[in-house]
Symmetry: C2
Subunit: 370 residues, 2 copies
């Protein structure tokens, strides 16, 4: 733990600092900075990150139009692994740089605002640094949360449902997956952030929904709480192709995926004109060399569409998404299961745990209750 500025990745934050309060942040460890192309290799380890203590002035300078926020909840998501390997960063997301805080979706509270659209105590959501306090230019906020928040019992439920997983699921399932009533939908990593919502959206649409997950607890959750038609523990299956033939005997129309061996088995079981929404490849994020996907020929044989997407391209559909989800939220038709780690110091373990499936439900990091 070093004493350092909480916001030292932005020059500007130093210049405007006036009053000081202790603050913490997460940042990428500098240990591996020495010239490697991939700074984090394989599965991320806690030692790839460090928690740094620093100080920040909780007052804006005269005339600033920025917004000073205090983070409440941060969303720990598998895509963050991609941002640790610069060469693989998607163009719409900035890769992390060594020594700067990680960044991701979160809900925060406005401490002070120099921008007319925001005032003190407003709840905001967007992409924030993984720190206790941040100074953010207004464009980094997606939305004031206050109005939306009123539809949710807690900020936490708002985060899980509305931030990254909700919109990602909506875009991936409805826009990329083009689902039809009666489709057979198979979801791997089904109890995860996106998986659990895909399953519920698919059930609302009248699909037959099967999920796979990595423990009995998760399988029970899928079947008994989240309303999946069936579910299985993939770790107990020697032959994923055979498992899929057993659980979705007439083939899969629509699939949300983790890549790897599961994808190969899905390709063997996909039906004509099936759709594969590539909204994650968690099995691929951690390996530099893998076996490779062998069954892509089925894309041709069965006229399958496989499409990767970035949720940020679908933000124009946000009003449509809210129109869809809010009534279901009000009627209690959407459940969400979250796994909460508390305190920035437990952030690295929470993030690393995603890749071994340690989390049950959406992994959230609670930074402060208010």
């Amino acid at each position: 733990m070093k004493k350092t500025s909480a916001l030292r990745n932005t020059e500007q934050s130093h210049q405007i600092a006036k009053e000081k309060e202790d603050g913490k942040e997460w940042r990428r460890s500098e240990e591996q900075e020495s010239g490697a192309e991939d700074i984090v290799t394989g599965c991320p380890k806690e030692s790839d990150m460090e928690v740094v203590e620093g100080s920040i002035t909780l007052k804006l300078p005269e005339g600033s139009n920025e917004v000073l926020i205090k983070n409440l909840y941060l969303s720990a998501d598998p895509y963050m692994r991609i941002l640790m390997s610069e060469r693989e960063s998607p163009q719409s997301l900035a890769s992390y740089t060594i020594g700067s805080p990680l960044a991701g979706y979160g809900v925060a509270k406005v401490v002070e605002s120099g921008h007319p659209d925001f005032k003190k105590e407003d709840l905001v959501w967007g992409i924030f640094g993984w720190d206790e306090y941040s100074l953010s230019p207004q464009h980094k906020f997606f939305s004031k949360s206050s109005t939306l928040m009123s539809h949710f019992p807690t900020i936490l439920e708002f985060l899980v449902c509305i931030c990254m997983p909700g919109m990602t699921t909506y875009a991936g399932f409805f826009e990329i997956g083009s689902p039809k009533k009666g489709d057979n939908v198979f979801i791997s990593a089904a109890s995860g952030a996106v998986g659990q919502l895909v399953g519920q959206f698919a059930k609302l649409m009248g699909c037959y929904v099967v999920g796979s997950a990595g423990s009995k607890e998760k399988v029970d959750l899928l079947k008994n709480k989240l309303g999946f038609d069936d579910a299985f523990n993939y770790k107990e299956e020697q032959d994923l192709d055979a498992a899929l033939k057993r659980y979705v005997s007439d083939g899969i129309d629509n699939f949300e995926n983790v890549g790897g061996k599961t994808l190969d088995a899905v390709l063997q079981n996909i039906r004509v004109q099936g759709r594969i929404s590539v909204c994650g490849m968690i099995s691929r994020y951690n390996v530099d060399q893998q076996e490779g996907i062998k069954n892509l020929i089925h894309l041709l044989l069965k006229e399958v569409r496989m499409e990767g997407f970035n949720v940020s391209k679908f933000y124009h559909l946000y009003p449509k998404f809210l129109e869809f989800i809010l009534p279901h939220i009000r009627e209690g038709k959407i459940m969400y299961v979250e796994d909460i780690a508390e305190g920035l110091e437990n952030g690295p373990a929470a993030l690393v745990g995603l890749f071994s499936g340690r989390n049950v439900g959406k992994q959230v990091l609670l930074v402060a209750r208010d």
Copy 2:
């Protein structure tokens, strides 16, 4: 060479036989019939097929509404390999059965017709058995060719442009590939049946077009006759990724593919929101176990759509396709290079040659000149 019925795969043809004339057909060899799941394994060999001599009566029975045709040109295409492995047959195409003739696209002449839409001497195109004469129910014909034919200098050019390759290219490039003016289009197997047309369609659309092929002769053809902006011999490249970075330095938007290592290199070089039309995976047809595609993560990172298709699903666009292509044909803006094998007895070699790239241009089998 055995003496047998030319049409013994259809019971009906025997019953209606009245007048006899010598005929030949191609059929799958019976040697491998004994219970193997894949009847043809790996790259097809000439010994997987045999030419059989037989006899057929060139007269329809009273009251028949079928059509007796004489094949003129047959189209030898890589997808035919798929039909040799029953378990991999796409649902819209019938797999070959042991002892029956191969089947594929062709242009034929009506010898006698029991159907009011067709008359003697009409030219027809559709999916026909690889034989000299066939008795075909009317629904197997796509179209009378006579009217269309008037737009083409020869029947052969009609076959190359209008039968499978033309419509496949049109559907794959325009419908699946969603090309935009200025796109960088990379085409592997670029001098082949589909490749040469994709390149020309892309140039007409204002794209930058690079092709790869397997010999200097083919590369010269692409650059000097077919109007590609650039082309290279993939066999001379140690590192396909590096080759693509050299030839399409700012990335690929649109790609027609052969699968395998080329696909992996394309994935490394695809641009954001690129599109990969899976209209063939010739490199995959011949192998039971392959290395696997390792770079699918780029579908996610770059929001890429990869889609397989079957041309038969696009036949409703036929009028639109003709509206597009006929003016270009008339103005001499579309070139086509064909490789002609003559006589059914040279069919097996022509078909096998597709998989080693022996053909230069679209492989056609000339059965009879008229």
